[in-house]
């Protein structure tokens, strides 16, 4: 048994790639070892800005020897067959055994592979890992052909056991593996050699490198929170930023600085965004007021002045940034309070939304008209909804959003409030972009819901009208996300609308298209596709959704989902599963008969032609159940309707057990087929059970 240490030492690896790269290295090497018969006890991988490191413990010294016997053709078999066998076994004629079998003499190949030393296998596996490493982006450097994320400088590849450590001979172009590395770029630059992982980690620490990213994160977070706490403050939690910052330093040194008084009145989000995006600073706030008053930066070294110079430099850069932000904020407030948000909206007539869909202003006008239609459906004040639609995009003209596009919406809310607009309108300025992702919160305030729906539906209708639909992995206008947003807005707020009618009317009214009906139908199909994906993520089977989408109202997503849920629930029961079987049987017999006879058996059955008891019982069951199902369906109580249908399972099963549908008596046969038809109709009002699998 031995322990393996690998280090790949390079120029600075982008922070966002480090975690994944460490995992990939571990997976590629351990998989490669195991595939070659080298098992191990445990493995761990680490990354710093300048290195990926992997330690594997309990590595087998040799891969086990293998012996394989293969029976070949008979000795007197055609030459071609014998040659083929030799090729397959990788042997020559004189290496074959001949054995006596019942049918005569037969060639046998005995393929023995000796075990190989771990070092040979490690060398192959590591070379393969380096040459085929899945970096998101890689590069060449100098005159070489090797690709790595940034220039690769040295490699440690070391096997260590009780008797000592040995460098595994690996040569990657002009880099030969060894046992040396370097510490911190500035605080431990000299090369040193190591004897194994523990020695490596210890010496790195001495050379001012914390190998484990988690340890760096913990150090940063602990120092930051302590420092804030000592001043009666708290650090604004930001795990993504913490991981990124830990990927920018090998020796984290946390420094806290003050934000100059003149910037303290900026909205907290503006301070936070500016500091995070440009400087990768953490925000530090007063716990009660939430006011951000300080920042935390993480340097990569200690200095004789305890970071004073570094902090002063960072503070200076921050002040320049915040001076810009303050300038934008004050200019924007002047516009919002003076001319109002419409001044900005008017300016958007000069900004192209899409060259075939006109300016942002034209787009806003379309959203306003759609919001007016949707307001009554959603139950929002029409006045507020149209006003909100008019100003919701105004902040796109503001200086702050020009500088920080990610603050769109939020700034709209601040500026709408500053302009004295109602709270519901201001809220819609921010919330109409939501939901952005599948786990984003969905707005529930009626004005916000109205504008959010109008915005997304207009986008979808517009891009459909100019035939810019998503294809394959290409969805440059994020239309799938918009459709999912519409679906979630509708379902979570129980918005009852006829989607294709609303879209067709909007296309006609906004003069986007002359073939509005066809486009609306096509767009509805797109919504159905997204709905399938959405429901599948909620645990509803694909075939259940398919079944519901091919029967009944296709336009009211709320109803479709209720039907799907009712069907999914009933399929959890024995009755439900058997009903599907019964239905399919009925449908098969009926379809075959219809095809053969060229007629539709839709005349309704008559009990007087029923011959058997089970037949009469099914008649009776249908008679009592049909009106119940109708009533339930009218009340849109799909659960009840499905339960009633499931109750038909017994009589249907008994019917099939007891009678032969295709009776010799033509009248009896026709009557039975007519009865199957009414079952198909009845059940088909909720879903097409034929599409249910199993």
């Amino acid at each position: 048994m031995a322990d393996l240490l690998i280090e790949l030492f390079s120029e600075e690896i982008p922070a966002r790639m480090q975690t994944r790269a460490a995992q990939d290295l571990k997976k590629m090497v351990t998989d490669g070892l195991v595939e070659n018969g080298i098992t191990y006890a445990g493995a761990a991988a680490f990354a710093t800005p300048r290195r990926l490191a992997l330690t594997i413990q309990g590595v087998l010294d040799h891969s086990p020897a293998t012996r394989e016997e293969r029976k070949g053709p008979r000795v007197d078999a055609p030459e071609k067959a014998i040659q083929g066998f030799l090729r397959g076994a990788g042997l020559t004629m004189d290496q074959l055994d001949i054995r006596d079998e019942k049918k005569g003499q037969v060639y046998f190949a005995v393929i023995e592979k000796p075990g190989r030393p771990a070092a040979d296998i490690v060398a192959e596996v590591l070379e393969n890992a380096i040459r085929n490493f899945p970096w998101p982006k890689s590069m060449r450097w100098g005159a070489g052909v090797l690709r790595w994320v940034r220039p690769l400088h040295s490699i440690i590849c070391l096997l260590t056991n009780d008797t000592g450590s040995t460098v595994v001979p690996v040569q990657i172009d002009d880099i030969a593996a060894g046992d040396t590395t370097r510490g911190h770029r500035f605080m431990g630059a000299d090369a040193f050699s190591v004897t194994g992982f523990d020695d490596y980690a210890t010496k790195l620490k001495r050379a001012h490198v914390i190998l484990d990213p988690q340890e760096r994160q913990d150090m940063i977070w602990q120092d930051a929170t302590n420092m804030a706490f000592a001043n009666g403050l708290e650090v604004v939690d930001d795990r993504g930023l913490l991981a990124e910052v830990a990927g920018l330093v090998e020796w984290p040194v946390v420094l806290m600085g003050k934000i100059a008084d003149e910037f303290l009145d900026l909205p907290a989000e503006v301070l936070q965004t500016s500091m995070k995006e440009h400087q990768k600073f953490f925000s530090v706030r007063e716990p009660k007021s939430g006011k951000i008053t300080r920042f935390i930066t993480v340097a990569n070294r200690e200095t004789a002045d305890n970071g004073a110079t570094i902090l002063a430099g960072n503070q200076k850069v921050l002040s320049a940034r915040l001076a810009d932000a303050k300038f934008f904020w004050e200019n924007d407030l002047r516009v919002a309070q003076g001319d109002g948000l419409t001044a900005w909206t008017d300016r958007l007539s000069n900004v192209t939304f899409h060259n075939k869909l006109g300016s942002q202003k034209t787009r806003i006008d379309r959203i306003v008209s759609l919001a007016a239609t949707l307001a009554s459906i959603v139950g929002a004040s029409a006045g507020d909804a149209t006003l909100a639609a008019q100003v919701a995009k105004a902040d796109l003209s503001s200086e702050m959003v020009y500088e920080f596009p990610e603050l769109q919406g939020l700034m709209g809310r601040y500026y709408a409030t500053a302009a004295g607009l109602p709270d519901a309108v201001a809220a819609a300025c921010q919330d109409h972009y939501s939901p952005l992702g599948p786990s984003d919160d969905v707005p529930s305030a009626p004005v916000s819901v109205t504008v959010a729906l109008a915005d997304k539906l207009d986008t979808l209708a517009g891009f459909w009208a100019i035939d810019e639909k998503p294809t394959g992995s290409k969805d440059p206008f994020a239309l799938r996300r918009a459709a999912l947003g519409v679906i979630r807005l509708i379902l979570e707020n129980n918005v009852r609308l006829s989607l294709s009618d609303v879209i067709a009317a909007h296309l006609a009214q906004s003069a986007l298209s002359e073939t509005g009906q066809d486009l609306a139908a096509d767009l509805l199909a797109f919504f159905h596709d997204r709905l399938k994906v959405f429901l599948r993520d909620q645990g509803i089977r694909y075939d259940v959704i398919e079944a519901c989408l091919s029967r009944g109202d296709q336009d009211d997503l709320v109803l479709i989902v209720e039907r799907a849920k009712a069907l999914a629930a009933v399929l959890e029961t024995d009755d439900g599963i058997n009903l599907v079987q019964g239905f399919k049987r009925a449908n098969n017999i009926l379809s075959q008969a219809e095809e053969k006879d060229g007629v539709e058996y839709s005349f309704g059955a008559d009990i007087k032609f029923a011959e058997e008891e089970v037949e009469r019982q099914l008649f009776a069951a249908l008679e009592t159940t049909t009106p119940k199902i109708k009533t339930a369906l009218q009340a849109q109580d799909f659960a009840a309707a499905m339960a009633d249908m499931a109750a038909l399972r017994g009589p249907i099963d008994a019917f099939f057990d007891g009678v032969q549908v295709n009776s010799d008596n033509a009248i009896v046969r026709r009557n039975r087929l007519n009865m199957l038809h009414s079952i198909r109709d009845l059940v088909g009002q909720v879903a097409d059970l034929n599409r249910i699998e199993g």
């Binding site: 220039p151 070294r301 200095t303 570094i310 430099g313 921050l318």
Partner: protein, 307 residues
């Protein structure tokens, strides 16, 4: 290395010149045309192509008409200086060489926090991209560090290492100046001490006015089209010069026209007459020229061609 703090903008430039000269670069002079960045200098764009080794460093005055602020913004200028280093193939110790240059201009590595933060470089107008970093000193970006992977649509083989220093910003930091116009241009103890403002405040105003409001857009547009046509006409010539009988591919004269077209586009952009959608089309036209120039250059001797 001098650890003495420099006293002026020009001293920082001179120290960089001396440093890179001492490390084997040909110290070249600025290209004599209007460009948006040091990368446009043929010593970078064209010389990064082909197989021949190359090492050059130079100051390049650069113009970005849209960044003009009439000399009022503390660090935004429509005319500024870049310091550019290009070494092909990129040497293994390029990062150390770069850090040495910071030391040379008075940045003490023991007191400052220098970081290499991912920043991939791309020039849509040159059809070029590379991977590298922006270099931070105490949280401020002081340089761009790039390993060129493609230029003018050609894979770079060998790869050039490119360093670009934004001289004003870097110098302001080293000299501890808050407004660019207050920065000493020459030695502040000289008999006639000049600040950056003494040299450039007035020109910033003049150019800002011309760039934003006065430049004749019809003329600019015509110049753009003429440069584009001339570039293509030059490259359409036979490789063999009928007069001398020599093989002369005019990659550089053609590339001059590409530079010109690019600058005309920047001016048109500053005049606000290019819409968002047109913008992409113009950039695409300049890129098409850059690619053709690159195609031509790699067929020349300097581009690695041998008969």
């Amino acid at each position: 290395m001098s650890t003495q703090k420099p006293k002026s903008f020009q001293e920082i430039i001179l120290r960089l010149q001396n440093y890179w000269a001492a490390h084997g670069c040909a110290i070249m002079q600025p290209y004599d045309m209007e460009v948006g960045a040091g990368t446009f200098h043929p010593a970078t764009t064209l010389r990064s192509l082909g197989t021949k080794a190359w090492a050059a460093a130079y100051v390049q005055p650069s113009r970005r008409p849209t960044d003009g602020r009439y000399g009022e913004n503390p660090n935004r200028l429509q005319h500024y200086y870049q310091y550019q280093v290009l070494i092909k193939p990129s040497p293994p110790n390029l990062q150390d060489l770069y850090l040495g240059s910071l030391q040379a201009i008075g940045i003490d590595m023991e007191m400052h926090d220098i970081r290499f933060v991912e920043d991939d470089w791309e020039s849509p107008t040159l059809g070029a991209w590379g991977l590298g970093w922006e270099v931070w000193c105490d949280g401020m970006e002081v340089s761009q560090f790039t390993y060129f992977q493609q230029v003018g649509g050609h894979d770079c083989h060998p790869v050039s290492g490119e360093l670009t220093y934004g001289l004003e910003r870097l110098a302001m930091y080293v000299l501890g100046v808050d407004h660019v116009m207050d920065m000493p241009f020459n030695d502040p103890d000289a008999p006639i001490a000049l600040t950056y403002g003494d040299v450039f405040k007035q020109t910033e105003e003049e150019y800002a006015r011309w760039n934003f409001d006065v430049a004749n857009t019809d003329v600019l547009l015509r110049h753009f089209q003429e440069a584009e046509a001339e570039c293509e006409a030059i490259l359409a010539q036979e490789h063999i010069d009928p007069k001398t009988g020599k093989r002369i591919i005019m990659a550089h004269p053609a590339y001059d026209q590409c530079i010109k077209a690019s600058h005309m586009f920047n001016l048109l952009d500053a005049r606000g007459v290019i819409s968002v959608t047109e913008r992409q089309a113009y950039i695409g036209r300049v890129r098409a020229l850059a690619k053709k120039c690159a195609d031509a250059f790699v067929q020349t001797t300097a581009g690695g061609y041998s008969a």
